[in-house]
Subunit: 308 residues, 4 copies
Amino acid sequence: MKLKTDYQKIINAIYKQIKEEEDLGEIAKYIPELAKVDPNKFGVFLTTIENEEYGIGDCLEKFSIQSIAKVLSLTMAYQTLSGNIWERVGVEPSGNPFNSLVQLETDEGIPRNPFINGGALVICDMLLTQLKNPKQEFLQFIRDISGNPSIHYSEAIAKSEMSAGFRNIAVCNFIKSFGNIINDPNKVLDFYFHMCSIKMNCQELSQTFMFLANSKFRNVKNEPILNLSHAKRINAIMQTCGFYDESGEFSFKVGLPGKSGVGGGIVAVHPGEYTIAVWSPKLNKKGNSYRGMQFLELFTTKTESSIF
Amino acid sequence: MKLKTDYQKIINAIYKQIKEEEDLGEIAKYIPELAKVDPNKFGVFLTTIENEEYGIGDCLEKFSIQSIAKVLSLTMAYQTLSGNIWERVGVEPSGNPFNSLVQLETDEGIPRNPFINGGALVICDMLLTQLKNPKQEFLQFIRDISGNPSIHYSEAIAKSEMSAGFRNIAVCNFIKSFGNIINDPNKVLDFYFHMCSIKMNCQELSQTFMFLANSKFRNVKNEPILNLSHAKRINAIMQTCGFYDESGEFSFKVGLPGKSGVGGGIVAVHPGEYTIAVWSPKLNKKGNSYRGMQFLELFTTKTESSIF
Amino acid sequence: MKLKTDYQKIINAIYKQIKEEEDLGEIAKYIPELAKVDPNKFGVFLTTIENEEYGIGDCLEKFSIQSIAKVLSLTMAYQTLSGNIWERVGVEPSGNPFNSLVQLETDEGIPRNPFINGGALVICDMLLTQLKNPKQEFLQFIRDISGNPSIHYSEAIAKSEMSAGFRNIAVCNFIKSFGNIINDPNKVLDFYFHMCSIKMNCQELSQTFMFLANSKFRNVKNEPILNLSHAKRINAIMQTCGFYDESGEFSFKVGLPGKSGVGGGIVAVHPGEYTIAVWSPKLNKKGNSYRGMQFLELFTTKTESSIF
Amino acid sequence: MKLKTDYQKIINAIYKQIKEEEDLGEIAKYIPELAKVDPNKFGVFLTTIENEEYGIGDCLEKFSIQSIAKVLSLTMAYQTLSGNIWERVGVEPSGNPFNSLVQLETDEGIPRNPFINGGALVICDMLLTQLKNPKQEFLQFIRDISGNPSIHYSEAIAKSEMSAGFRNIAVCNFIKSFGNIINDPNKVLDFYFHMCSIKMNCQELSQTFMFLANSKFRNVKNEPILNLSHAKRINAIMQTCGFYDESGEFSFKVGLPGKSGVGGGIVAVHPGEYTIAVWSPKLNKKGNSYRGMQFLELFTTKTESSIF
């Protein structure tokens, strides 16, 4: 492990190197609102468990965190429902794209894990049953963790996704046909699309995920988020399932638990050390940020800081 | 992390607790020779990177390591072929049973990872092309790592597997039909079945896997096995793919990179800390040792020693 | 071929024989309104191309024709769109259940044939684009063929299906996500559920399908329905795809082109000879009328009248 | 139906028309011996049930009948084992390519029908158990039906297929792993490859298949081949499964029961009318003769002689 005082230098060097190379990714076009984002945005932010901070580039500009929010909805569900979650969703990598319906048919409506779309929809369904004002309470939950009351849903993005989200509508109704969605599919989808529309910047993201790196972390109300065992388990799921059918590749090259979103964000966690958020909107073929993957691979290689 | 001096106490306590519970696993019957093993065998052995050793039960009795050998053949191939391996085999979890042919058809003969049977057969094929006397050289490779010249193939088990190995014959010829096996399938299968037939005890296994926990490890000839980056990558693949379609579950419950075999053995690695081998022949539905899984879950929980 | 004057005797004998045996089928429960039907209903009606008629049992009682309507919507689309249909839907048997989504994913939204739900939804989408008042015009189309202005949609059944039709909502949105549904999925589904809700009795069904047995058939307006070549092709698709993943079995045992519905109806066509409709609500495991299959197998065996 | 005296004129006209168009098929290259055949060969032969004969082109030149032989092995098995066949092989179209392993995994080793490779291997296995000298007796069976003692296996082709038949070796061992192959897979494969290697010309093929068109047909020993009901059932399976995942297309365009082989041959049967054999080695993407398909579509259109 390199000295922490080196983090800024290493981040700067890798950032510069990647900026000079061509970005071979492509921006996600299937959500009209996301397609408007400047494809050249690129930001990085690292927070250590001692609360040292290192950032570069567009690290203070907000973007749609998309599927990264699935970790937070899982955390909220885990907090209140504990192990009961796992009767309705698995913890296995799927070996399939994020929106595949094939496996759901074989598995009779039990999604493989909470990070593929089907699994996240089931988690949303659990929260809908559990909460009085799901959208408000979920937002408050994130604001309390991040200590940041300025975090918001983007109604424009939520609406844009709803209008183009035929695959997700299909997935949700498909699971409903197996009985593993309890509430009205339209309400589940509305919650899901709002959840994915949350906008945060790299700094906010790396701060919000600190509870997965630091077992002593408490939110602004001085409450713990998850016990150590539960936090470890969420890290474990991120490690095996955080990047759809590129999860093995991320584990292999980067060696940290992490989660990506089609907005181009990636958060990764080094338990006991740091959290890091990267944002660059152009995606590789598997739907993960091209430069984000590149940055994190170089970063854990240079700092020798993979968990393995 | 608990003090290391506690390891023996914790091992003893968990061992006793599990012994008192019913073993709900079932012995693998499809390999006639394996079906002869006493199903009540149960052994554990832990080796720290400072070379402290802690064992209990049948930890000095040899058994067929089966698929655990796939880590060692991958290591040997990685040593000589480096990154060229990954053109012919992936690093993604499969989401399918160890001997499934479905994915191979979709993926046109490129196995998802080196630990499902198809992937291990492709690795065997690479070694066959590379080595003059594959079976002898592979055995010597393991003897050098373990410092133990008494390690042998079991001809009886290899023969038994060959006689009942129709599924593996199918997998090998299927991959050959896509052109991703170069050598004669019968030769590849002969090497593969021999590799799986190797017999070791828990002590030997935990010692042999030390190179994945200790980056300074050297074999009896004072040679390094893999560089740090390569060792980390093998750990990463074990983490995501070491237990077939129960890999996520193992990662979730145990939180260590590991590899199982249908002989009832499991090896797990805590990088920078220890390696641990467990043996109990009765398997759960996914083909992993029932008591082995149970032991390791309790062990990493009590020692708070998962990598997450 | 037996003399036609024997038809009534043969029908009576088989009807009696089957009535005496146990009905091993089960009524479809997933559409609440259909579950209310008396499960012991049993009717048969045969019309020859010379317009001789032979009926027995509940052959004059109306029931929901369900998927049988898919033949009529295909016919209407074929009439106006001709070969252009086949760019958006195939003519291959699927080898899968009627509501499977697996194949749609592999085939990128092109349903295998117009008789699985996905294919019928695409046909509905074509008609929606083509017609000004789709529901009225489709109903008129059937009334003109059958010469029977008393044929109606059942709003109760359409509503019941819509409320429980999560799988069909999934299928329709899934195809939309591939771009092979042009109109709003909700409108397509509304048309589809109405189409399936049409109620007819066995006599009306056998008369309505006469255009597939008699190339000289004309509707009440003295218009031909399809040219000979197109009629043959619809028969061919019924032969290979009319009974979902039991199509081969029906072809094997009965040897006639035909189409079933989950309401318990089956229509079969012997080109140049006759049409026959059978109704009995209890279904076998593949979703086809248990007694209907039984009746038709015995009928074509006794009359030696399969097309083979 | 056109007058039979027109058959020769129609055959000549279509043959000439097709000859003038480009042959867009490609010769099968995966069996080395088949790749040697002159790709421009093209022959047609029709035999009516009154034994009138009409031929053109290379209709008297022998070629490897390949999968067409599967109809004959099924017939031989049906003769001796009757309905017991259907416990080990289905009658459903597969919706998949001829050599797919995917469905076999889901269906636990029960092939969908006797005309995909897996099903034909199971039929071979049945005959191996039943017959004393399988290869000789099967050949004699065909010689007796065709009245032609000059029909032979091609040892060169059988050997060539064995050397390149990795996919079939995979299929056979895969089914064996489910217990649905009784004999040694190598013996089953040897029989299978020999069966496929039989060489016949178009005239011999159309004569040999006459028992499926003419219920009064008897072999040279004056024995019936199959009763009417069984013959109808074999026709029904050819109709739904004779062309792999192009069976629906063939049924749709040609409208006759038929069977193709990768040697470029196709036989079709019009029950009560005629049998017709076409040979042209270049195949379409589904593995069926490009010109053969084209010829038969034009032929049944011009003669209006589909069974529908």
